[in-house]
């Protein structure tokens, strides 16, 4: 059965629909509750990971480097969960980094913005107009966040396999539609797609290990072969290649490590003119 990834205009509503779908299909439901465990593994606080999913780097917030580091930890932890069969994932931005895996079905839940504004207005005790502006700002922020984090515009509906507008479809119908779509043959796991998912998981795991020491690292994995790209000076090539191979070579699922060193032009220029 496919993995189902949810994105909703409202986290709470998305969670509700995702959980009902999980119950309907007898799936495991995964959401931000896994962040505590991920935070523990990397010795940071859960609140920082939560914040990384909702905020962008700023002068008084995260640095860009720290933000991307936290996002890699979230990817690693989420992809690990997705290796299990029959999983529904919500609220972990997985729609932005689980790409090219044919048995991952991406569902976008749309809400009526006016209804959302009315709900916010009543909850926060503000005017509907003001609440409507908040809804609009949130949507803009999500667009900026997704572009900045993964270079993907999550508000682009063509990126999803199924888009459901809850202002026209009720919750039960939505759950039934998602459950029905999950049975389509095109979303069923196959050898290729399972391998793709394992490759993504391995790449994220390797990246999470290397990130602290090599913040600009790029990692690609194919069937146990891991290709790692970092910037370094020519004279550092042998040493860094050795360090990376030592760090990664014995990790589970890694059969072969290839390190590509890209000449760090900036550092080289600085050294030349020093």
């Amino acid at each position: 059965m496919p993995i189902i990834i949810f994105l909703s205009d409202s986290y709470e509503k998305g969670k509700e629909i995702a959980k009902k779908t999980a119950d309907n299909l007898d799936y495991k439901y995964v959401d931000r509750d896994i962040l505590g465990e991920i935070a523990k593994r990397h010795d940071i606080t859960e609140s920082k990971l939560l914040k990384a999913l909702d905020e962008m780097p700023s002068l008084f917030g995260f640095s860009s480097k720290t933000w991307h580091q936290y996002l890699v930890y979230i990817q690693e932890g989420t992809l690990k969960e997705l290796l299990d069969d029959k999983v529904i994932c919500h609220g972990l931005a997985a729609h932005l980094y689980v790409l090219g895996v044919s048995h991952v079905m991406k569902v976008r839940i749309l809400m009526d913005p006016e209804k959302m504004a009315r709900e916010i207005a009543s909850k926060e005790g503000i005017s509907v107009e003001k609440a409507y502006n908040i809804v609009k700002q949130q949507k803009e922020l999500r667009k900026k966040w997704s572009l900045s984090a993964f270079n993907i515009d999550e508000t682009d509906l063509s990126r999803y396999d199924l888009v459901i507008n809850l202002s026209q479809i009720d919750d039960k119908e939505a759950v039934d539609m998602i459950a029905k779509a999950s049975t389509y043959r095109k979303f069923q796991p196959m050898t290729y797609s399972i391998r793709c998912l394992h490759d993504r998981e391995l790449a994220s795991r390797v990246k999470a290990v290397l990130l602290k020491r090599f913040p600009d690292v790029r990692v690609n994995a194919t069937n146990g072969t891991v290709v790692i790209e970092i910037k370094a000076l020519k004279r550092e090539k042998q040493k860094k290649t050795r360090i990376i191979k030592e760090m990664v070579g014995n990790m589970a699922g890694v059969n072969y490590v290839e390190v590509h060193i890209i000449n760090d032009m900036l550092r080289q220029a600085i050294e030349t003119f020093r």
């Binding site: 090219g100 895996v101 044919s102 389509y184 043959r185 095109k186 979303f187 069923q188 196959m190 050898t191 290729y192 797609s193 391998r195 793709c196």
Partner: protein
Amino acid sequence: MSDKLEVLILDDEPIVGKRLKPALTKIGCNVEVFQDPKEALDRIDQKKFDIVVTDIRMDEIDGLQVLDRVVKKSQHTKVIMITGYAMMSVAREAMERGAFDFIAKPFTPNDLREVIDRAAKALGSDINFETTTGTKNG
């Protein structure tokens, strides 16, 4: 069904059939290998195969057309698509059109044996792959 699986392998690269045939014969399959899709389709018209393994990208007739012909002829036959140009869109299309599985090249004979094993089980084959598989990478 007979105790041997009837398997057709179609790939325009001769090395593919050359490598896969002995690996599948070893686990109890009768294997016929083709490089020309037209010849393969003629053979499919003549004989009922349990499993067809076909490359996707070939000249004149592609693997998806072969898949359509096999599915139209017999729902019994399991079609396994193999390709060096794997993409999500093609994989989904192949599955939607009735492929049993989709494998990206490069793969080992053992990878294919595992898929054949599952196809055999889906066909209700009583071939015991556990005992006939032999060495892991053979």
